[in-house]
């Protein structure tokens, strides 16, 4: 093709760039707006039309959530004084619960799924096909159908409203995907090193920990991020299996705050912003591994 720039191509390129910018606004707009709103006082936020960029930026909303000091904008306008939800102050402990649960789920996935995937990808044993299909099929039940049975199980284990209940349930939800993902990953790595290790007299466990794990490290990173995010984001079971702030997670508290008719929009924005910071940090810092991991699930054969 000739390098001459033709008007048609310029138009095309401009058109594509405009399309990309529109897409960026669609994708990033909601994030930017909720962050901007979290720095606005309630009276500014309820103007018609609201200002996109805070005219009088304030950190009062954040201060209220963390220290309980009522924002000044509420004191100025008497009628807005009631529009504040005590519940918003639960967001910090709720996110702490989310963290404890999601991190434990991540560790359990690493500990349980890695050896299992190794056995599926490399070992020869009876019932392998059956076990593999069972694990994959276990994720086919829609969550809503098993929510009640889960409730019954957790109650009979006397684990209602504990971190452990959600750690167990979220592990059961994530391990099948982790095993599938890692099995594909290991199957797609060459096995020469392992053979050499076995010849050198390593046992299976040593081959797994010293040779396989370092080799599949990118896969393990992606798997850990998936497990963490799935647990951190999960709502339905967290809603059913928790009853107090001793175990309620971020999504549960956020949805409960927003259901309060008395809630302040500034405070919802603060909770939404705080709730989405951890996954956003993960998504940006681990972008490469996440994208490669997701791509591999659809292109590995």
């Amino acid at each position: 093709m000739s390098k001459r720039v033709r008007p048609l191509e310029i138009t095309k390129s401009v058109g594509k760039n405009i399309l990309v910018i529109l897409l960026i606004i669609y994708i990033a707009g909601p994030f930017l707006w909720v962050m901007s709103a979290s720095f606005q006082g309630e009276n500014e936020l309820l103007k018609k039309p609201p200002s996109i960029i805070p005219q009088h930026p304030t950190t009062d909303n954040y201060r209220y959530v963390f220290t309980g000091k009522v924002p000044t904008s509420y004191e100025v306008k008497g009628q807005l004084r009631s529009r504040i939800s005590q519940e918003a102050r639960l967001i910090a402990p709720a996110l702490k619960n989310s963290f404890i649960i999601a991190f434990s789920v991540l560790l359990i996935n690493l500990l349980f799924a890695t050896p299992a995937a190794y056995a599926f990808a490399r070992m020869r044993w009876r019932f392998k096909g059956g076990a593999y299909n069972f694990i994959l099929a276990s994720r086919l039940m829609p969550a809503i159908a098993i929510a009640i049975p889960y409730y019954v199980i957790i109650q009979s284990l006397k684990l209602m409203d504990t971190h452990l209940s959600l750690i167990l349930v979220h592990s059961a939800l994530t391990i099948p995907f982790s095993i599938w993902f890692l099995t594909l990953y290991i199957s797609n790595t060459p096995r020469d090193m392992e053979e050499a290790g076995l010849v050198d007299g390593c046992n299976n466990l040593q081959v797994l920990t010293r040779i396989v794990v370092p080799m599949i490290l990118p896969g393990l990173v992606a798997m850990s991020a998936f497990a963490f995010m799935t647990s951190y984001n999960e709502f339905l079971f967290a809603r059913f299996l928790t009853t107090s702030i001793s175990s309620q997670t971020g999504p549960v508290i956020i949805s409960s705050i927003s259901g309060n008719p008395d809630v302040s929009y500034s405070l919802i924005s603060v909770c939404l912003t705080l709730g989405m910071i951890p996954p956003i940090i993960l998504a940006i810092t681990m972008r490469k591994w996440l994208t490669e991991g997701l791509s591999s699930t659809i292109t590995f054969r």
Partner: protein, 311 residues
């Protein structure tokens, strides 16, 4: 790249018994912890769910649970809401999946091109996928608010509308809003999948087509689309399943309303249990949804298999 589990098993077989019985002992030890956790939360719940669906379980009558066979299923199917819920679910699924596929294809094609602005889009695209659906739903609820929402504010300031639009109070607009939020949340994953597919297409194909004088639209129609077909099929089925099972975003964004206009089948499964307090009915409806999903997964497997025979 032609190793699936079954062919990995094949290689193991060829290797003979070098691992011996210690290998299989190691395998069982490796698999047991994971299998136990999964089994506890799969086998028991499934049987429990099926059992409950055959009994009358109404939470306001805690003492009597007579066996009623398939009556729960019959009651659900003949209930006042079932027909509307099916129509809502089908319409929603078609709209959401169409939206997600078009969005995914467009974003993937742009990400695969050499436009300068695309770098930023590459960083941002994962974000909607990464955050909780509850957070996404609430962000949109707040943006679409009919009294204070920023979208109304912008449209009003630009002079597009003369008064604020009740996006979530009007049945048609509420459905559209739900689709808009769904595409925002689910579209990015589809885009990443489709991009992975695009990157599998060898460059020579495009070059050959260009030498033959194909315009970009023709190249897309006759090279990109046919080669992308298998991946598009997988994404299509996956997205259909996730659209049918949509719950979180409905729960926070519209709560099934206004009226029942955004009440999908999965919403009624929730409502049967937590609003009508009819456990048996709710679980029967969940099982119906599960069967629909299973049918789709069956299609998914078949689509994959045809794809394997093609490649």
């Amino acid at each position: 790249m032609s190793t699936t589990v079954s062919s990995a098993a094949g290689t193991a077989k060829r290797r003979g018994n070098s691992n011996g019985s210690r290998g299989s002992l190691f395998s069982y030890a490796s698999i047991t912890p994971a299998l136990l956790v999964i089994a506890l939360f799969t086998i028991y719940p499934v049987f429990y769910a099926i059992r409950i669906s055959l009994f009358q379980y109404i939470l306001t009558k805690p003492k009597s649970h007579p066996f009623i066979g398939l009556k729960n299923f019959q009651e659900v199917v003949t209930s006042y809401y079932f027909k509307d819920a099916v129509i809502n679910s089908v319409v929603y699924t078609i709209a959401a999946v169409t939206g997600v596929m078009l969005f995914g294809l467009m974003v993937a094609l742009l990400l695969n091109s050499k436009i300068r602005t695309v770098t930023l889009l590459k960083v941002l695209i994962l974000l909607p996928w990464a955050i909780p659906a509850v957070v996404a739903g609430l962000m949109w609820k707040w943006i679409l608010n009919s009294d204070f929402g920023i979208l109304n504010g912008i449209l009003y300031s630009l002079g597009v509308v003369r008064s604020y639009i009740p996006f979530l109070a009007d049945p048609v607009l509420a459905r559209l809003s739900l689709v808009l939020a769904h595409v925002w949340k689910e579209g990015p994953l589809a885009a990443i999948f489709i991009l992975a597919g695009l990157q599998l297409i060898p460059n020579e194909f495009y070059e050959a087509a260009r030498i033959d004088g194909g315009g970009s639209l023709r190249v897309f129609r006759f090279i990109t689309l046919p080669l992308l077909r298998p991946i598009l099929l997988v994404v299509l089925v996956y997205e259909t399943m996730s659209a049918i099972l949509t719950f979180d975003i409905v729960y926070v964004l519209t709560g099934g309303g206004p009226g029942d206009s955004t009440s999908l089948l999965s919403w009624f499964a929730y409502a049967e249990i937590y609003k009508f307090l009819n456990l048996g009915g709710g679980i029967a409806l969940s099982i119906i949804i599960a069967l629909i999903t299973l049918m789709l997964i069956f299609l998914y497997m078949r689509a994959l298999r045809t794809e394997d025979t093609i490649s």
